[in-house]
Each structure stands twice: as structure tokens, then as C-alpha cells.
């Protein structure tokens, strides 16, 4: 416990150095930080949590629009400590990423990926629980600040038990369905447990950290860290991104009449 407070104190100190006094943070009536609002990551994490040089993307016909931009690793220690079989699975995922990445299929992105999708999310702090709504796929989760319990059932966005440690919102997430962490095929399984930390650095910045434990695929827990930026433009809000229809081509195209018959040697249409 003492160690955790020490870390929190260090982070506050760091925040104070970079952004001014911690007293400048927005606070709610009960004294906890006010981190409500619309946030977004501004980095390459959704392409690859590990370091990434620029390269051709999975769909060459998109030209440079589909190219993968470069970015530094957001992982402490730079690389994910996969077990050998899991490292192979990541390579297979990568090879099939155009159609098998759950993002391409419009599946709810899970935690922590939802946080660093290239689309905004919104935090709502009520008198009791916290809600986080994500533009991508309309995903949403409740962060239970009391009545903590083990996940009653697995889900795409998991079960989130939250608490304040000083000015840091700490959320323990479990009960996640297996999911990918980025477009490079990095992944976790249903035994993953994620510990997230949201620490306000200023009214406009949160430091986001997530520790990812999954003994099924990693040699040891590992952590990512990145800033999140407040969307401050006038009228900023979440819009619909109901993406199932954008995924129908890759998911169901084999079942159009033309394709089904062509598959069986009968050419119709066109």
C-alpha cells in the first residue's frame, strides 16, 4: 500500500513539474479529480503496441492511405514477453490481419485497446459509478466504484471494478473475451486481467497506464503507458460509428448469391 502511494506521489510530482501545481486539476465536490469529458490517444498504439517502422499496410490498393505509420513502443521494456507458442500465434494473427483483426470485424475492442483506438471516448462520473462510452462500435462499460465483484460472465468489454488511489483512478478489469490488442496481431486470452491507471496531469491531459497479466500467453505481466488528450474543440461529442455494416464485406461476402455460385463453378450476374 505504501509503495502504491509512493508511486502516486511521484506521479503527482512529475505532473506538477510538467504542468504546474496539482492544485490546478479539475476536482469534483467530493475532492476526487474530475476526469469527465472526451478523450483520445494520439499515437501509433492501435497499429502496434511495440515499436513500428513505416511499412505497407494490409491493403495495398489503398495506396499510402493504407500504409502503417511509424511509432515508438508504448511498452515498458519495449516488447511483449510472449511465451513461445503465443509468439507464433501473434505471427499468424498478423498474416491474417486484414480479415481477422476484431477491429476489421467491428467487434467491441475490449480493454485496454478501446482506450487507444483512433476514435474518442467519453468518461462520465456520477455520484456513484463511472461510465465510459467509446465511439468505436458504440462500446460501453460501467466502472463499478462500489459493490465490487468478480465478473459474473465474460464479455467483450469485461467487468470493471474501480477505486481512487490518491488522484489516480485505478480499474481492475477481468472477465474479458479473447481479443486483439492492436492491428499487428498482439493479443490476450480470456484469462487476461488488466489493471488500468488514469492519472490527470492537467485539465487537458491524462496519463494512461495498463498492466496486462495473462499467464496463458505471457511469461510475466507487462505494462503500457501513454498520454490521453482532451478533445477541446467546440461541440466535441461522440458520434455514431455503428460499424457492423462496414464489416459485412469481409464477414459475409462468401454468402452473396454471385459468390456462392461462383465458388461452385457457376457464374451469374455481371
Amino acid at each position: 500500500m505504501l509503495k502504491k502511494y509512493a508511486i502516486a506521489a511521484c506521479m503527482l510530482l512529475a505532473a506538477a513539474v510538467v504542468q504546474g501545481q496539482p492544485g490546478e486539476l479539475l476536482r469534483r465536490a467530493d475532492g476526487t479529480p474530475d476526469i469527465s469529458g472526451i478523450w483520445q490517444a494520439l499515437n501509433n498504439a492501435n497499429w502496434n503496441l511495440e515499436a513500428q517502422v513505416a511499412e505497407q499496410g494490409p491493403v495495398e490498393s489503398l495506396g499510402a492511405i493504407g500504409a502503417v505509420p511509424p511509432g515508438q513502443s508504448v511498452i515498458a521494456g519495449n516488447e511483449i514477453p510472449y511465451k513461445p507458442e503465443a509468439a507464433q500465434q501473434r505471427e499468424q494473427n498478423f498474416a491474417l490481419r486484414r480479415t481477422e483483426d476484431p477491429e476489421a470485424r467491428c467487434f467491441m475492442p475490449g480493454i485496454p485497446r478501446a482506450t487507444y483506438m483512433p476514435q474518442p471516448f467519453q468518461i462520465f462520473q456520477t455520484d456513484t459509478d463511472i461510465m465510459m462510452a467509446y465511439q468505436f462500435a458504440g462500446a460501453v462499460r460501467t466502472v463499478y466504484m462500489s459493490n465490487h465483484m468478480e465478473a459474473p460472465i465474460d464479455s467483450w468489454m469485461g467487468w470493471s471494478n474501480g477505486r481512487w488511489e490518491g488522484d489516480t483512478l485505478v480499474i481492475e478489469v477481468a472477465g474479458l473475451n479473447p481479443n486483439w490488442l492492436d492491428r499487428a496481431g498482439n493479443f490476450y486470452t480470456s484469462t487476461a486481467r488488466i489493471t488500468e491507471r488514469y492519472t490527470p496531469l492537467s485539465p487537458y491531459h491524462l496519463q494512461y497506464e495498463a498492466t496486462i497479466e495473462d499467464p496463458a500467453v505471457y511469461e510475466e505481466p507487462w505494462a503500457i503507458s501513454m498520454p490521453l488528450y482532451r478533445r477541446i474543440e467546440d461541440g466535441a461529442r461522440l458520434y455514431d460509428f455503428k460499424c457492423p455494416e462496414f464489416a459485412e464485406e469481409i464477414m459475409y461476402n462468401q454468402l452473396t448469391r454471385e459468390n456462392y455460385f461462383r465458388e461452385r463453378g457457376v457464374y451469374i450476374g455481371e
Binding site: 462520465f124 461510465m131 462510452a133 461541440g235 455503428k242 454468402l255
Partner: protein, 333 residues
């Protein structure tokens, strides 16, 4: 439990029967409030109801049943459902209708004295459609008969997990999973709909819903508190969201919906709404029903992620078509 005893149980439950009239008549009850003083509506709610959206024509302009009539209706409904299959026979194996809380006649949450949710027009039925809407519906039906099996893109919006027809606004009860989680901050009311994990984010600044916005599947909602009533106005529908009760006829860009949420007792929110869309109906129409508090939590409804239905439907149709082709050399009907 014998049918008779169960029926008696139901009727005892009706001792606490609530109607729109009697909601909120407990004088000792005090409005629960948020820390900043707004009425508290945060929690888990259901709008499951036995009341039909449209009134049976025979009821004319009668808005409410008597308690005796409702009891009689429930008894008849129970007996019809209970009598559908014979206990202990193969036909009864599917499920017993009073298992899994599916017997809604036994649940006082779903009862009230209304003869229909719609109370205006006074006959409790949708107003007549406009000529434009009738034409659009005919065009859609023709298109559907020719193309509905073509691909995923020609299936219904709900089958494709894009939007459930009753999501609204106005929010209308569903056959199942009529479950909602409301959250509140000083600046927003957030309504999470279990079906199909949709979130309505309603800013409480009372501004113009269309301001700074884009057309949205659930429209753009803006809310404000009028006394203890949350008034939500919605415009800016996407032009793809089905109008209530209609397929192929969307809420138009001129649609305007006003909803009023009033917590009236410990367990109920009175929900009143008025729908205006001059491109769909010849007049506005209004409805009323209660949301009832239920125990949480609410679970994630991952519609698209587990959409085996659409794959199975299309696979079945394709197989039929291919077998027909092999037999006749023809493709299609």
C-alpha cells in the same frame, strides 16, 4: 403449482396494481436526489409491459380498463397460454411458459390499466400515414420481396445488428430484454439500452439538438429539467432509422420527438412522449407508460459479435437456391 393457484397469485399481485392515474400517490414518499439536487433517475429500469402499443379497435376511445376487466384479461391470457400445450407431453418440452419469468401475466411490473400505450389520437392508434409514407412502404415491400435474400446488406437493420426497431426515440418496449441503465451527471443523462448495447448521451444544456451535430441513428437529443421532469427533445435522425411500427419508412429529417421522464415513486418513472414527423404521419401521436426499477447489473449484449443468425439464414437460402439450380438449371424463383 396448479393453474388455479397461480392465477390467484397473479390477482393478489394486482392488489398493488398501478395505473398512470395512481402513480406517485404515496404522500410520504420523497423524491430521491443527486448530490447536485436533480431528481435521481440513475439505476436499472425496465419498460416491459403487457399493454399493447395500439388499442384494440373494440375499446374505442376508452383509455383505461377497470381493475375487474384487467383481472379478467389476465385470467384469460394466462389460461390461453397455459392451455397451449398439455403438461408432460412432448409438445410441452420446448419450455413451460411460466419458466424463466416468461409468464408476464404473473408480474405486476408489467401491468397497468391502460388499454394502449398510445393515448393520442384518442382512439389509441397511430394516426394515418401520409401518402409519401404509404408509397415508401409499398416500394420497400416490393424491393424486399425481390432482394431480401441477396446478401447481408439486404437483411433488416436489426438482423444486421445495426439498430433495434424499438430503440427510438421514442423508446418502446421489446418482447424481451427491455432493460435500461440510466446514469446521471450534472451535465448529461446517459441511457444505455441493453438491446443492442446502444448508448444515448443526452446533454443537459437545453440547447438545440441539431447544433454542432450530424444525423445520427438515434437522432440528436438535448435535455433539460423542467421542475422534476426531464424533458428531452430529439431531431436529426439519420434517415435510416425505421419509424415506430414501420419497416422501410424511416424517421425523416423533419422528425421531432419530445420525451418527458418523471420519477413518480420509489420504483417508477412515468414516461410520456410525443412524436411528430410530417413525412410519415398525418398528425402527431403521444404515448405513456412507466419504467419500473429492477435490480442490476445489466449485461453486455454483443449482437454483431455473435451474429450466427445472419450466416445461418444466408447459408440456408444459398443452399436451397443451389439445389434448385442443380434440379432445374434455373437460378432464383
Amino acid at each position: 403449482m396448479s393453474g388455479n393457484r397461480l392465477t390467484k397469485g397473479i390477482l393478489a399481485g394486482l392488489g398493488v396494481l398501478l395505473s398512470a392515474h395512481s402513480l406517485g400517490q404515496n404522500e410520504t414518499w420523497q423524491m430521491p436526489r443527486t448530490s447536485w439536487g436533480d431528481p435521481l433517475i440513475q439505476g436499472y429500469w425496465t419498460n416491459s409491459t403487457m399493454v399493447p402499443l395500439q388499442r384494440p379497435a373494440a375499446m374505442g376511445t376508452r383509455e383505461f380498463y377497470t381493475v375487474e376487466e384487467l383481472e379478467e384479461n389476465l385470467r384469460r391470457e394466462f389460461e390461453d397460454e397455459y392451455g397451449e400445450t398439455e403438461r408432460g407431453t412432448a409438445a410441452d418440452v420446448h419450455y413451460q411458459f411460466d419458466d424463466y419469468l416468461m409468464n408476464r401475466t404473473a408480474d405486476s411490473i408489467t401491468q397497468n390499466l391502460r388499454t394502449s400505450i398510445i393515448y393520442d389520437p384518442p382512439n389509441g392508434r397511430y394516426p394515418p400515414l401520409t401518402d409519401t409514407a404509404i408509397a415508401a412502404q409499398e416500394e420497400y415491400n416490393t424491393w424486399r420481396s425481390e432482394h431480401q435474400w441477396d446478401s447481408a446488406k439486404t437483411r433488416s437493420l436489426s438482423e444486421r445488428c445495426l439498430i433495434w426497431d424499438q430503440e427510438g426515440p421514442p423508446v418502446l418496449p421489446l418482447g424481451y430484454n427491455s432493460t435500461y441503465q440510466f446514469m446521471q451527471t450534472e451535465d448529461f443523462v446517459i441511457m444505455q439500452l441493453e438491446m443492442i448495447h446502444d448508448v444515448r448521451i443526452i446533454p443537459l444544456d437545453g440547447g438545440d439538438p441539431a447544433e454542432n451535430s450530424l444525423p445520427q441513428w438515434l437522432g440528436n437529443s438535448r435535455g433539460h429539467w423542467e421542475g422534476d421532469t426531464l424533458v428531452v427533445e430529439t431531431t436529426g435522425y439519420s434517415g435510416r432509422t425505421n419509424a415506430p411500427g414501420l419497416r422501410g419508412v424511416p424517421m425523416s429529417s423533419e422528425a421531432h420527438v419530445v420525451e418527458r421522464f418523471t420519477r413518480v415513486d420509489e420504483n417508477s418513472i412515468d414516461y410520456q412522449f410525443t412524436v411528430t414527423d410530417p413525412n410519415v404521419w398525418q398528425a402527431s401521436w403521444s404515448g405513456n407508460y412507466p419504467f419500473r426499477e429492477i435490480e442490476g447489473p445489466m449485461f453486455e449484449y454483443a449482437c454483431h459479435e455473435g451474429n450466427y443468425g445472419i450466416v445461418n439464414i444466408l447459408s440456408g437460402v444459398r443452399l436451397e437456391e443451389f439445389e434448385a439450380y442443380q434440379a432445374t438449371g434455373k437460378i432464383g424463383e
